[in-house]
C-alpha cells in the first residue's frame, strides 16, 4: 500500500510498521483500549478452561473477603463473593459469556440488518416501505416483553438471549445501511455497472456493500458496547442469563443484597463492564477517523512528528 503524506510527498518506505498499526500507535487512548480489549478477549477464550474449577469452588470460611489482600492468593486480590469464590476468577470466567453474547448478537444483527437495509435501499418502493415499517414495529415493541416471551417459550440460554438482543438491534443497522445505499446508488460507478448490464443483486452486494462496510464496522464496534450494557441490564432484572451461568451483569445483580457489607461484589464486575464499553467507544472513535480519508491525515501527521 503506497502512502502519501500531508504535502503529497511519498512517505518514507523505510518504516516497517504496517500502516494501520502506525495509525493506532499515534492514538494513545486507542492503543490502551486495544490492549485492554485483547486481555478481555484472551480471558474470554481461555479463562473458563483454566479457572472454571477455582471460580466455582465454594468456601464458606473465606466469604466476603475484602479486596487488596494477598493472604489467600493472587486470585483473591479483588476479594471474594458471598460464597467465598474469588471474584477475579469469576470475572475472568464470566468474560466468555459476556463477550460471546455481545459478539454473536452484533454479528447476527448486523448481517440481517445490513441485508434488509441493502434490499430496502435498492428495491422498489413497496418492498422498501414494508421493510421500514417492520423496523418501526420492532423499535416500538417493548424489548423487555420480547425478552420474557422468548425466554419463556424457549429456555433462558445464551443462544436465546442472543435472539432477543439481535432482534432489537436490527433496526439500527437496517436504517444506517439504507440511508447510505440511497446516497451511493446515485453515484457514477453504480450507473456504470447498471449500463454494463449488472443485475440488481450484483450491484447491491458487489458494488454497493463494500462502500457501506466501513460505516457498518464503526457502528458495530459502538453497538457491541451497547449490547453488552443491554445484556447486563436484562440479567440484572432477572430475565437474562440465569445462574449457574454467569455474566458480568449477573454478578452485579448477585452482589446487590450484600451492598452494605461488601461493596466489591458489585463494584468490580461493573467496573469491567465500564472499562470494556469505554475501550470499545475509544476504538470506534479511532476507526471513524482512520476510515475517513478527510480526517486520517491528522493521525498521520501526529505520527510523523512523533517519529521525528
Amino acid at each position: 500500500m503506497t502512502q502519501t503524506g500531508i504535502n503529497g510527498a511519498p512517505a518514507k518506505s523505510s518504516r516497517k510498521l504496517p500502516t494501520w498499526l502506525g495509525l493506532l500507535l499515534a492514538d494513545k487512548f486507542a492503543t490502551a483500549a486495544v490492549i485492554f480489549l485483547s486481555l478481555v478477549l484472551v480471558a474470554a477464550l481461555i479463562g473458563p478452561a483454566l479457572l472454571d474449577e477455582v471460580a466455582g469452588k465454594v468456601a464458606f470460611r473465606s466469604r466476603n473477603l475484602a479486596p487488596f489482600q494477598l493472604d489467600h492468593g493472587v486470585l483473591m486480590i479483588l476479594g471474594s463473593d458471598s460464597l467465598g469464590r474469588p471474584i477475579l476468577a469469576r470475572i475472568i470466567v464470566a468474560a466468555q459469556n459476556t463477550m460471546m453474547i455481545a459478539g454473536f448478537t452484533v454479528v447476527a444483527a448486523s448481517c440481517i440488518g445490513a441485508t434488509l437495509g441493502l434490499i430496502a435501499g435498492y428495491s422498489r418502493k413497496f418492498l422498501s416501505d414494508a421493510i421500514l415499517r417492520l423496523a418501526d414495529v420492532i423499535m416500538s415493541f417493548p424489548s423487555l416483553l420480547l425478552a420474557v416471551i422468548v425466554l419463556y417459550m424457549l429456555e433462558p440460554a445464551v443462544g436465546n438471549l442472543v435472539i432477543v438482543l439481535a432482534i432489537t438491534r436490527i433496526p439500527v443497522y437496517l436504517r444506517t445501511t439504507r440511508a447510505e445505499v440511497l446516497e451511493i446508488r446515485e453515484r457514477m460507478f453504480v450507473q456504470a455497472a447498471k449500463v454494463m448490464g449488472a443485475s440488481s443483486w450484483r450491484i447491491a452486494f458487489v458494488h454497493i456493500l463494500p462502500m457501506v462496510l466501513p460505516t457498518l464496522l464503526t457502528i458495530a464496534t459502538l453497538d457491541f458496547a451497547f449490547v453488552m450494557l443491554a445484556e447486563s441490564s436484562l440479567s440484572f432484572l432477572g430475565i437474562g442469563i440465569q445462574p449457574p451461568e454467569i455474566t458480568w451483569g449477573l454478578m452485579v445483580a448477585q452482589g446487590r443484597p450484600y451492598m452494605n457489607q461488601a461493596w466489591w461484589l458489585s463494584f468490580w464486575p461493573g467496573l469491567f463492564i465500564v472499562l470494556t464499553a469505554m475501550s470499545l467507544n475509544l476504538i470506534s472513535n479511532w476507526l471513524r477517523i482512520v476510515l475517513d480519508p478527510t480526517q486520517r491525515w491528522r493521525l498521520e501527521q501526529r505520527r510523523e512528528t512523533d517519529h521525528g
Binding site: 420474557v148 447486563s232 461493596w263
Partner: protein, 304 residues
C-alpha cells in the same frame, strides 16, 4: 399544518394498532396466569373457575374481539393482580414517570446546551476536553451499576439522600442523577458537533464582521440553528425515558410505568401491560408530533 397533524395521527394510529395486536397475542405466549395466581395444588375445577371469571377460557380470537370493543370505550378490563381497572393502575404510575422523564430532560437539555456550546467555541480547549470525557463515560456506564454505587456512596455512606422510595424532593435526586448521565452524554455530543457546524457558517461570519459580541453570536445566532438535530436526539432519549426507566425505577423503588411494566409482564397481568403500552405510546406520539411542530417554529424554511 392541520392536514399534516391529521395525516401523522392516522399513520401512528395504524402502527399503534399493529403494536397492540402483536402485544395482545404474543403476551399470551408467556404462560397461563392461573398457574401463577393459584396454589400449585389447586384442583382443576378451581382453575377453570378462575379462567372463566377472567374471560380467559374463550377462544383467543373472541377474547381479542372483546378487547377491541372495550378498547373503543377506553376500558382495558381489570388488572388480574389488583382487581381494579387496569387503566387506573397505569394512570397512577404514569405521572411519576412523566415527572422523572421531564425533570431529567430539562436538566439534560440546559446542561448540554451550555457545555456543548462552550466546547464548540474552542475545539480542543478545556471545555471540549471535559465534554469529550463526559460523553465517553456516559456512553460506557451501565445505569444499574451507577444506581447501586450512587446508593452506596450517597445514601448509605454519606447519608445525604434516602436510598429509595418517594415522598420528599430528596427522593428524586438519585434517580434523576442516574437517569441524567446517558442522555446528557449523547445530547452533549450532538450539541457540540452541531454548534461547530453552525459557528463556521456564513451568517456567523457576517454577524462577526458586523461586530456582534461572541456571546451573542454563540447563544443567539448559532444556537437556534444548531437546535434541530439536538431536539431530534433529545426526543429519542425522552421517548426512552417515557418507555419506562425500568432499571432505575426498580432499583430506587419508584412507582413509575417502567416498574409497573416489568412487574406486570412477570405477573402475566396482560391487561395492565396493554394499557401501559397504549398510554406510553400515545405520550411518545404526542411528543414526537410536538417536536415536528417545533422544527417549523425554529426553522421558518420548514413547512408542513
Amino acid at each position: 399544518m392541520g392536514r399534516f397533524v391529521l395525516k401523522r395521527s392516522l399513520f401512528s394510529l395504524v402502527s399503534l394498532f399493529g403494536l397492540l395486536v402483536l402485544v395482545f397475542f404474543l403476551s399470551r405466549l408467556t404462560g397461563d396466569p392461573a398457574a401463577l395466581y393459584l396454589p400449585v395444588d389447586a384442583p382443576q375445577s378451581v382453575r377453570d373457575a378462575f379462567r372463566e371469571a377472567r374471560g380467559l377460557n374463550a377462544p383467543l380470537i373472541s377474547q381479542f374481539g372483546d378487547f377491541l370493543v372495550n378498547l373503543a370505550q377506553f376500558d382495558f378490563g381489570d388488572s388480574l393482580r389488583r382487581q381494579r381497572p387496569a387503566f387506573d393502575v397505569v394512570m397512577e404510575a404514569f405521572p411519576w414517570t412523566l415527572g422523572l422523564a421531564g425533570l431529567t430532560m430539562v436538566l439534560v437539555l440546559s446542561g448540554a446546551v451550555v457545555l456543548g456550546a462552550l466546547a464548540a467555541i474552542k475545539v480542543g480547549g478545556v471545555f471540549d476536553r471535559i465534554s469529550s470525557v463526559i460523553s465517553l463515560t456516559a456512553a460506557s456506564a451501565p445505569d444499574f451499576w451507577l444506581a447501586l454505587m450512587a446508593i452506596f456512596i450517597f445514601a448509605v455512606g454519606l447519608g445525604w439522600v434516602p436510598t429509595s422510595g418517594t415522598g420528599t424532593p430528596w427522593h428524586w435526586i438519585l434517580p434523576v442523577a442516574v437517569l441524567f448521565v446517558r442522555p446528557f452524554g449523547l445530547v452533549l455530543q450532538v450539541v457540540r458537533s452541531s454548534m461547530i457546524g453552525a459557528l463556521s457558517s456564513a451568517y456567523v461570519k457576517t454577524a462577526r464582521a458586523k461586530g456582534v459580541k461572541q456571546r451573542a453570536i454563540t447563544f443567539v445566532h448559532a444556537l437556534r440553528n444548531a437546535m434541530l438535530p439536538v431536539i431530534t436526539v433529545a426526543g429519542d432519549q425522552a421517548a426512552g425515558l417515557l418507555n419506562g426507566a425500568v432499571v432505575v425505577e426498580s432499583v430506587f423503588g419508584f412507582p413509575g410505568v417502567g416498574k409497573l411494566m416489568i412487574d406486570s409482564i412477570l405477573q402475566r397481568d396482560f391487561t395492565v401491560v396493554l394499557a401501559a403500552i397504549m398510554v406510553t405510546s400515545l405520550a411518545i406520539f404526542t411528543m414526537n408530533l410536538l417536536i415536528d411542530l417545533a422544527y417549523a417554529l425554529l426553522d421558518p424554511r420548514i413547512r408542513y
